[in-house]
Amino acid sequence: MTTTDASPRVGRRLGDLLFAGTARAAGITILIALAGVATFLIVEGIPGIVTTQSSAFAGKASFVSYTWPLVFGTVLAAVIALLIATPLAVGAALVIGFYAPRRLATPLGYMIDLLAAVPSVVYGLWGATLLAPKMQPTYAWLADHLSFIPFFAGPASATGRTILTAGVVLAIMVLPIITAICREIFAQTPALHREAALALGATRWEMIKMAVFPYARSGLVSGVMLGLGRALGETMAVAMVLSASSAVTFNLIGSQNPSTIAANIALSFGERTGVERNTLIATGLVLFVITFIVNFLARGIVARGRKGS
């Protein structure tokens, strides 16, 4: 009697143990994987920082003077991208959420999502062969007429493959991320407030200004930060579009452009050997830390917004 009772229970416990163990192991694998990422990047990156071989820094004196223009270019391209993408993304999310008839809104949402599905290498191909030549006349015009603004100091690049073009391509790539988050945030704003505003005679824009934006502010900030994280780490589009040198300049339309960390790694990895590659891994570590901080702040803002609402 006791044996027949006990055996299924043991079997049950064994199955549960195995299953729970596998699930827990999968979770712990993620811990190990991330610890591994940090460890291996540090272990393989440090020799590239402390090395005295000058070819590792492409002629620069130290790791800092090698990395600084890259960090500058990375942040500059990402900021340009966000300045362009944020208003467009908010507008697109408003159309899908409040302006478009429901039957139209869903396909429009799909189309914005399609933007996210296009691989970055295809964006690079498109940006380098179609967008850059199309932008070039605009740059020439800007350099002729607005050269008193430091951003358009000129002389304009002959190919159009400038950091501004790279920023435009990045903007297209981060737009669907910001739009998706904005749509989610806008949908969460209290419907009663929106309806009350309309019932009191507010126009649609006044309703959005009074009943949607105040609730969406923290979500907007976090969406933009997530877009920033994506823009900072984007590699192929920038590597293919930008014709880079190591200049530190705010001239957005010239032929001397700062490269970005990610694009620099992809472009120069093949031709480097030994400790020179370790230096690239170290710059990758810098990129990892920057994107980590940005994403961390973004998630923090999201979490705080959720707690508040």
């Binding site: 199955g15 299953f19 729970a20 699930a23 827990r24 999968a26 979770g27 694998t29 993620i30 811990l31 994987a33 591994g36 990422v37 291996f40 272990v43 393989e44 990156g45 908010v90 507008g91 697109a92 408003l94 159309v95 189309m111 999502d113 399609l114 933007l115 599905a117 296009v118 691989p119 970055s120 290498v121 295809v122 690079g124 191909l125 498109w126 062969t129 179609l130 737009l175 649609r204 824009w205 006044e206 994280g229 900072l232 780490g233 984007e234 590699t235 293919m240 790694i265 992809a266 990895f269 093949g270 590659r277 891994i281 990758g284 990129l287 990892f288 994107t291 980590f292 994403n295 998630r299």
Partner: protein, 359 residues
């Protein structure tokens, strides 16, 4: 008393007084389009000038008319409506341009030979193909899937069914968020650093690419599976427990089948996301002209890296450069078709099998 109040105090007037007629936007659109055509013909500005002039005319005329007939608030509303719609148009413009360019440049390249030949011993403008790159992409993606799908699904099971609220689960949730933000190039560098530390410097193998891709794929699988498991009603679990079903069988036979369609959708989308990843593969998989089916040694060509390298070799006006640039467009079209097909498949699966959770 109250029923007579409005008519006795207000002058009788129509509801539509001081309002633009319903056809006003249409009229303004027609007028603006006419202005655009006129301007583009007069100054020969082409299609871009037409669209620009017509768009800004539309944006200005309707609010102005509204400000005259209606009032400032309504004029502002009309202005903002125009602006908001035009942001959407501007946002979708690149998509249309990109798809048009890829299809018009890529379609002439696609033929049977392009899909079944490799680039081995292909010189100048001879017919080459992407067969080796297709095989490589298939191998790398399948390996990445084999690594990341079980880990991702089991991790989500742990987070929802076992760990809920525990400190380990909180740490994992946080780290999955961190993983979502890892730049793809950093994932590639990690795979390279790992292989260098284990096998010595200069190692190139496709398995490293699979490691890098699974690093990017796992968080997507975890997130989507988690969302789907959360949707499974607790009643189902409790009913199974009440019948004496052990927890692991409840998960395997009740929870997972209920959420299956959503999980498959999520996994398909994750594959669609990583199949176009280029940066890590440039570093760890490299490029070669022939078929390599051994993922543990030597370089392996993949479709995204093929696009990148033919693009790099395709600058200039020499015969081989032009041929390479064309091949890049052909390969880009094939890649986009694959990615779009995966996305459509995911939506299809989601639609067909969705009602299971609706009870």
């Amino acid at each position: 008393m109250s029923s007579t109040f409005p008519s006795s105090t207000l002058p009788p007037r129509s509801l539509t007084a001081n309002a633009l007629p319903r056809w006003a936007p249409l009229l303004v659109a027609v007028v603006s389009a006419g202005l655009g055509v006129l301007a583009s013909v007069l100054f020969s500005w082409g299609v871009a000038g037409l669209v620009l002039v017509a768009g800004s005319a539309m944006l200005l005329l309707l609010p102005l008319w509204s400000a005259v007939v209606e009032n400032g608030r309504k004029a502002k509303d009309r202005l903002m409506t125009g602006l908001v719609w035009s942001t959407l148009a501007v946002a979708l413009l690149p998509l249309v341009s990109l798809l048009w360019k890829v299809i018009s440049k890529g379609a002439p390249q696609i033929n049977g030979d392009f899909l079944t030949y490799t680039m081995r011993n292909v010189i100048l403008a001879q017919q080459g193909g992407i067969y080796h790159a297709l095989i490589g992409t298939l191998l790398v993606t399948v390996m990445a899937g084999i690594i990341s799908i079980p880990i991702g699904i089991f991790c989500a099971i742990y987070l929802i069914e076992y760990g809920a609220g525990s400190r380990l689960a909180q740490a994992i949730t946080f780290l999955v968020d961190v993983m979502t933000g890892i730049p793809s190039i950093v994932a590639g560098l990690f795979a390279y650093a790992l292989l260098v530390a284990l096998l010595g410097p200069g190692t190139q193998m496709a398995f490293g690419g699979a490691i890098a891709l699974s690093l990017l794929m796992i968080p997507v699988v975890v997130r989507s599976t988690e969302e789907m498991l959360k949707l499974v009603p607790n009643d189902l679990r409790e009913a199974a427990y009440a019948l004496g079903v052990p927890k692991w069988r409840t998960i395997a036979k009740v929870v997972l089948p209920t959420a299956l369609s959503g999980i498959i959708t999520g996994v398909t989308l994750a594959i669609a996301r990583v199949i176009g990843e280029t940066a890590p593969l440039v570093i760890i998989c490299g490029m070669t002209d022939g078929v390599n089916t051994n993922p543990f040694s030597q370089a392996m060509a993949t479709l995204p890296v093929f696009i990148y390298s033919t693009f790099q070799e395709g600058t200039g006006t020499s015969v081989s450069a032009i041929a390479n640039a064309d091949r890049a467009w052909g390969a880009a079209l094939v890649l986009i078709v694959i990615v779009m097909a995966l996305n459509l498949l995911a939506r299809f699966i989601g639609k067909i099998f969705a009602p299971k959770t609706g009870r």
